[in-house]
C-alpha cells in the first residue's frame, strides 16, 4: 500500500515537471493522412494516471472533455512491422497485442488467429 502511495506521489511530481515543457509531436497517419498534433508518445501518458497502454502510441489530451480530468485520446501508433505511423481507424490499422498497419497485416494475414483473419477479410469486402 505504502509503496504504491509513494509511487503515486512520484508520478505527481513527474506530471508537474512534464507539463510546462509541452512537447508536441506531429502525427500523420500514413494511410489516411489524418494529421494532428499529439502531446505524448508512449505507453504511460503523464496526463492520465490510471490508463496504461500495451503498445506505445500517439496520445493527446482528450480535446472533447475538460482539461485535468485525465481523459485521453489515442490517435494511433507506429506499425510494429514497417514503423510507419498509422491511426486507430479500423481502415488503417489493426491491434492485436501490437499495432499493425493494415498493409502489413494483409501481407502477413496467415500468421494471425482466425478471428483476426475474418476481420481483415470483412474489411476487404467492404
Amino acid at each position: 500500500m505504502e509503496e504504491s502511495k509513494i509511487k503515486e506521489e512520484l508520478g505527481d511530481v513527474k506530471k508537474t515537471e512534464d507539463e510546462p515543457i509541452q512537447i508536441s509531436y506531429n502525427f500523420r497517419c500514413a494511410l489516411c493522412n489524418v494529421n494532428e498534433k499529439v502531446h505524448y508518445k508512449g505507453t504511460t501518458p503523464p496526463f492520465s494516471r490510471n490508463i496504461v497502454l500495451k503498445y506505445p502510441s500517439y496520445i493527446m489530451k482528450d480535446p472533447f472533455s475538460p482539461p485535468g480530468k485525465g481523459e485521453i485520446l489515442v490517435l494511433g501508433a507506429d506499425c510494429s512491422v514497417c514503423d510507419r505511423p498509422v491511426c486507430v481507424s479500423k481502415h488503417c490499422s489493426l491491434f492485436f497485442v501490437k499495432t499493425f498497419c493494415l498493409d502489413c497485416a494483409k501481407t502477413s494475414i496467415h500468421t494471425f488467429p482466425i478471428e483476426i483473419k475474418n476481420k481483415v477479410v470483412q474489411l476487404r469486402e467492404k
Binding site: 504504491s4 489524418v34 494532428e36 492520465s48 494516471r49 490510471n50 490508463i51 496504461v52 497502454l53 500495451k54 503498445y55 502510441s57 493527446m60 482528450d62 480535446p63 472533447f64 472533455s65 475538460p66 482539461p67 485535468g68 480530468k69 485525465g70 481523459e71 485521453i72 485520446l73 489515442v74 490517435l75 501508433a77 491511426c87 486507430v88 481507424s89 491491434f95 492485436f96 497485442v97 499495432t99 500468421t111 494471425f112 488467429p113 482466425i114 478471428e115 483476426i116
Partner: protein, 1161 residues
Amino acid sequence: MRRSPRPRKRSEYKRRRSRSQSHDRDRHKIKKRSPSASSSQQTETELFSFVNYKRELNKIILYSCESNVVANNLDDFWVFLKKYETMLQKSGKPILDYQYQTQSDSEGENKFSKYDCINFTTSIKFVDVVVDDKRRRKLDKMMFQVFLNIISIYIDFKNKEKFEKLKKLRLAQKDLPVAKYRSEIVSAVQNERVVVVAGDTGCGKSTQVPQYLHDAGFQNIACTQPRRIACISLSKRVAYEMLTQFDTKVGYQIRFEKSRTADTKICFITEGLLLRQMSSENLPNYDVIILDEIHERHLMGDFLLGVLKCLIHSRDDIKLVLMSATINIKLFEDYFSAESAAVIQVPGRLYPIELNYKPIFIEEKPTRDDRLDPQPYVQIMQLIDNKYPSDERGDLLIFMSGVQEITAICDAAQQYAEKSKSWIVLPLHSGLSLLEQDKVFDYPPEGVRKCIVSTNIAETSVTIDGIRFVVDSGKVKEMSYDSTTKMQRLKEFWISQASADQRKGRAGRTGPGVCYRIYSEQQYSEMDPFSTPEVSRVPLASLLLLMSSLGVSDVRRFPFLDAPPEDSVENALLELKQHGALTSNEKLTSLGRALANLPVEVSLAKALVVGSATLPPHKRDSALALTAALGIRSIYTTRAHRDFECENARKPEESDHGDPITLLSLYCAWLTVKAEERGGKAWCKRRGIEEQRLYELTKLAAQLRSLLQDNNLMETMEPETMSSAERALRHGQMKHLKDMRRQYKQKASEDLKRKKRLKMDSWEIVDSNKDDEDNALDIRDIEFRMTNDAKRIQSLISGASASSGRDLIMLKVVLCRALYPQVAVADEFNHFKSISEQLYHTWSKPFVFLHPTSYFGKSPRVLQLTEADIQTEVPVGYKSKLPLSAKHQILCYLSLLETTKPYIVNSMRMPAAQTLMLLAHTIDTNMGFTRIVCDSWLLLEFPYPETGLNLLFKAAKLRQRWEALINRRLEDANPTKSVESELKKSKHMSYDELQYELSCDISAYMNSEVYYTLKRLLLGDLKVMYVGNEEPHCAIDPNPFEEGFECHPHEKKGGIYITDNIVFNCVVDTEWSYNSYEETYSVPWTCSSCEISLCLSPIERLQHKYFTCSSKVEKKEEAPKEARQNRPNAKEFKCEICNETLYMTPVEILKHKKGCKNTNS
C-alpha cells in the same frame, strides 16, 4: 466451490508483472480449471452481473483515482456495462470470463482473445470492500480483474467514438468549399496587404479562414462580426474545431463580456469594439484583421473599412482580410484598388432552387386594398401540401416586412394549419422573447412542416437549417432617417435584387429548394441592384464624434465606401456643436472626448457626463440607470401594451413625469424583487417586460460606470468592507450559485444534444410551457446574483430611485439638458381633441403625435392646464387669447419615430419657461424682459413686471454656475498640471458643496411660480418679431448677467448679446409691453437692500443691485476691485446726499443723484 483463489491470484499477479512466464503451466491450469468452471459456475454466471456490485465498484473507482474516463462518465459506463453483459449472455459467454487472465500473455498465433485487440489497460487498484449482503458472493480481486477488462473495452470503445468524432470533424472541414482555396488564401494574405475573400453563406469562410491564417503562423488575429451573437458562436465553433474548446486560444470580445486572455490567438470581436480599441491608444497587437460580412454594409463596418484603409498605410505590419458574400465584390475591389487588393472567390454550396413568380394581380385583391391579404401565402401552403409528399421533409420560410404583417400571415396560416394538421406556424422577429425566437430551431413532429414567418432577420442574421421552401413578399420595413427633423422613419420598401437573391438562397442550404416570389419578374428587374447602405439612412452624430476622437481631422473628406448624404453630415455636425462636443470650427472639445468614450448615443452620453458632474455621488446611479434604460432596446414585450393585465400590473410603477422616469422606477422595482430573491421572471412576465433587457440594462449601467471611472469623470467608490459574518454568508452564497451555474451548463449541453421537438399545439398553449421554465434554473439570474451581492443591489436601488423632491428634479433637468433641443410643445387646440389626436410641435418638426404606448399618449391630460391653473385676472392693459398660467409644460423627448404617423417616443414633462430659459441655445428679449423668444421658436410673455427678468436672470446665473461645474469636472478629468491650476484648485469649493448648492438652487428655480403665456412662432411671426440691426444699441455696462462679458450686437435681429445665449433688446415691443416698460421706468423703484428709490429700467435695477447697491459693496469688498478693470469709465463716487461711496459710471452717477434727490425731496 471456488477453487482456492489465493494461490491462483498470486501467480496471476506475478504474471502480470513479469510477462515472460512459462506457457506450459498456464495451459495446464486452464485445462484443469475449464471443466469445473463451465459446469459449476455456469449457473452462477447466468445470474451474475457487475450491476449488483455497482456501489462497491463505484466506490473503488472513485477512491482509487480522482479522474479518468470511467469516473467522469459513471452513468454512461454502467449503461455500457449492462449492454455488454446482455450481449455476452445472448452469445452464451460467461460474464466472469477468467480465461483471459491466463491467456493474455500467451502470444501464440492461434489463440485469440478479444482483450488482445485492445490497447488499453487500467491500473485501478483493488480495494476490499465490506459487503453487508451475506448471501451474495463477495467481490474479490479476480472478479475485479475481469471488471477492469470491461473497463478497458469501454475505454477502447470511447476512444474509437472520439476518434471518429475527430475524423468526422476533419472531414467536414475538408469538405467545405473554402478548403480548396486554403493555400491560395494563405499565400495571398502573406504576400498582399489586402485580400478580399468572397463566398456565399455556407462556404465556411467565417470559421476556416481564421484557422488557416493561425496555422500559417499568424499570432494575433482579430475577426470582426457585425453581431454579438455571431462572435460568441463563431468563437465556440472555431475553438472546437481547433480542439481548444477548453482553453482560451480562441476567444471573443463583445460589448458586455470577453473571453479573451493573453493566450488568445484568434479573437472574434464586434465591429464597434474594434473601432473603440483603435480610438484608445492601446490597439492590441494584431497581425491580421479580418472583417467579416462586409457586404451587409452596416454603419460601423463601412466606417471600419475606411479606418483600416487608412491604418494599413501607417502600419505595414497589419494585414487586412475582407470577407463578404458574393454581392457587389467590384465595389470593394475598386475601393481598395490603390492597395491592389487580391480577390479570391469561393463558390458557395448551394443546391439548385426552383424559382416561381406568383404576383398578386390587381383583380385578385380584396376591396379594402390597404390591408394585407394573406390568401396568396396560404395558397402556397396548400400547394406544397398537394405537390410534395408529407414524408419528404423540408420547412417553409416566409419573408414579410414587419410585425403586423407577420401577425396577419400567422393568423391565417394558423387557421389553415388547424384544418390540415400538417403545419406548425412560428413567427420570428426581433420583438419576440429569445425563448420564442429559439422555437424556430426546434424540430417538428414526423409529417409536419414548420412554417416560419419572419422579417428580414432570417435573411442573414438567423440561419435556420432544413428550409426547403421560401416565400418572399418582396417587401422590407427599414428605418430611414431625416437629419433635418431628427426623425427616424420606419417605412415599407421594395427589397433590392441582392436581398431577393439572398432570400431565395435560404431555400437551398440543405438540399434542392423552391422559392416563390409574391411579385412579378418585371418587378424584380425594377428593384435596386443593392440595398441602401446604413450610412445613408441612420443618424451620424455618434459616428462623426467617434471619427473626430479617432483623429479624423476633416470628417467630410473621410474615404467612405459610399459617402453619406451631405446634409446628413452637416446636420450631425450641427448637432454635435449644439451639444458642445465640437467647437464652432469643428475641433473636438473635452466634453466631446468624454462623450466619444461612451458607447451610447451622443445625447445619452451627455446625460451621463452632465449627470456625473452635477449629481451627488450617491445619486449618480440614477443617471447611469436612466441612460442605460434609454440606451437599450425597449424593455417591453409586444404583449405589454396590448394586454390589459400587464398594463394594470405596471400601474404602481408608472410615473406621471413620463416614460424615462417610469422606466427607472420599473427597474428599481425589479431590483427590489431581485434583492428579496423572489426570482423576477414571473414578475417581469406579469408586467409584459422582457427580463433579459433588464439584465442588459444592469450590465450596460455597470459598463458605463466603469468607463466614466476610467475617464476620471466619476470617483471610484471604495467597496464597503464586509464583516466576517457577511463575508462568510456571501462566500456560501457564491458557492451555491457556482454550483447552480455548473448544473445549468450541464443541463444546457444535454439539451443541446437532443433538440427540442415541437408540439403540434405549441401555438396555442405557450403559457403552460412557460410556467415549467419558471422553476428551471435561470442562468441570467444566477449570473446576476454572482456579480451583484445584496449590498450592491441595495445601493443600486437607493442610487437609482429618484421618486420625488430635489433628486427627481435634478435628474430630470440633467436628462433634459442632454436631450435639448429635443422638446415639444402642445398644440393650442389640444383641449378640444380626443386622446389619440393630441398634437405636438417640435422645433424641427411640427405636428407630431404622442406615441400611443407612452405614458402621455395614454394620459395626455396631465400635460394640459386645468381651469384652476389659468390666471383669469390679467394685469391691466395685457391682452392675449392665450392662457396665462404658471403651469405651462413642455415635453422633452428622446426621439421621433414615424410609423403610421410621426410619433414622439419616450417623453418627459418639464415646466416650460424654467426649462427653456435654462437650456435654450438662444434667448431673445425685449427692453423690459416681458417678451422673451427662445430659440426663435417659442414666445413667452410675462405680463407681470420684472417676473420675466428675474426668471431669466436666475436662469442665466444658474447656467453659468452649472457650466463652470461641468467644465471643472472635465478639466479635472484630464488635468494639465501647472502651478496656476494647482493654486486655483486649492481655492475651489469641494464638488459636494457645489453640487449641493447648485441642486438646491436649480430645484428652487424649477419650482418658481411665474405667470406667462406660451406661443409657438410661425415663420410669419418671426418676420415681425425682431427689431433688426438698423438702430444702434448701447452696450450694457456693467453687465449684470455676466460680468466682463463684452456685449456685441447681433447682426440680424438687432439688439446686443449680453451673454453667449441672451440677446437683449432685439424683440419688438407690443403695445402692452411698451406701456409696461414705460410704467416701470417712470415709477420709482426702491432697492430692497439699500432702500434707495430710483427711476430705473429693469436692467438698470439689476445693475444697481449687483454693482452699485451700497449693501453689496459692504458685503463683498472684493467685488468692486475685480469690477474695476472691466469698467474703464467707472469712478469712485461719493454721493453727498446719501453719504454712500459708490462705484459707478457717469451715467449711473447722474441717475443716482436724481434718485437721491427724489427720495429726499
